[in-house]
């Protein structure tokens, strides 16, 4: 299992900063070979269409580099606002908090691994008998 990248956004980002985060993160995925990216937005009070697009872009770019992205900690008011605004963030996996996000990433990567291993007949220990 490859390492996870944990990104915590601590401030409301202005556009150029958000674009820098996007490119830095994609570079970091490529360099580290991370299979999972966890983005904690619990400190972000405003997600507008620009910020939403950046989050969606990061998830799509990570997918091209064979990494799964999970966004965690979205504030309830942000979720309400995003949906009314019309931004549903398709393709972005979410979890309630960091712990649940980690579990989701681990399970997704295990599933991906076992699919890869399946032809070799690898299986977990403990037969039905």
């Amino acid at each position: 299992m490859g390492p996870f990248l944990l990104v915590t956004i601590q401030v409301d980002l202005y556009d150029r900063l958000a674009l820098m985060l996007e490119s830095d993160l994609v570079q970091a995925i490529s360099k580290s070979g991370a299979q999972g990216v966890l983005i904690d937005i619990s400190a972000v009070s405003i997600v507008d269409s620009f910020m939403g697009r950046i989050i969606g872009n990061i998830a799509s770019m990570a997918r091209l580099l064979d990494a799964h992205t999970v966004v965690v900690g979205m504030q309830p008011a942000v979720a309400i606002t995003l949906i009314e605004l019309g931004l549903t963030l398709p393709g972005v996996q979410t979890a309630l908090n960091v712990e649940k996000g980690m579990q989701l990433l681990q399970s997704r990567i295990r599933v991906a691994d076992s699919e890869e291993d399946a032809p070799h007949g690898d299986d977990d220990a403990g037969s039905p008998e």
């Binding site: 409301d12 009070s45 405003i46 309400i80």
Partner: protein
């Protein structure tokens, strides 16, 4: 001050800001938040108002290279609210009806700018003259 129906709209407090650079967006958003907190607006309505303001201020930067924003605390009857007026001297919008449709965009955005923004606020008004500029006014009532 003007009469709207039977109740009068009164401006209690106001402040004007010039938006010229993208860094101004965050500062401006913080000002809006301060005003909203001061009138006791709840977190969900605050978030909707600030997000709407963020969309409009971004439009102003993208299409008109900036402009001016007026923040006002207003009261009508027993209700308090925040009114924001975004005024730019950009190219203007030739077809407002089209611009207010979901999915329409001339820029690089997702095309949910204006209609999405309208859904977030209590009142939304847009006036635009090609070659002169655009003025968008939004109101978010404290409990609206």
């Amino acid at each position: 001050m003007r009469h709207t129906g039977t109740t009068m709209l009164v401006v209690l407090n106001k402040d004007a800001y010039s938006i010229q650079r993208e860094q101004d967006v965050i500062l401006f958003r913080n000002r809006v938040k301060e005003f909203a907190v001061r009138i006791g607006m709840g977190v969900v309505n605050q978030t909707k108002l600030i997000t709407a303001a963020s969309e409009l201020v971004r439009n102003m930067l993208r299409y008109a290279n900036g402009g001016d924003v007026l923040i006002e605390v207003i009261t009508r009857g027993r209700e308090n609210g925040i009114r924001l007026t975004f005024k730019d001297q950009g190219p203007g919008i030739p077809d407002i009806k089209q611009a207010m449709q979901d999915g329409f965009s001339t820029g690089r955005s997702l095309g949910l700018g204006l209609p999405g923004t309208k859904r977030l606020v209590s009142e939304f008004d847009i006036k635009s003259t090609v070659g002169v500029g655009t003025t968008v006014t939004i109101v978010k009532w404290k409990n609206g």
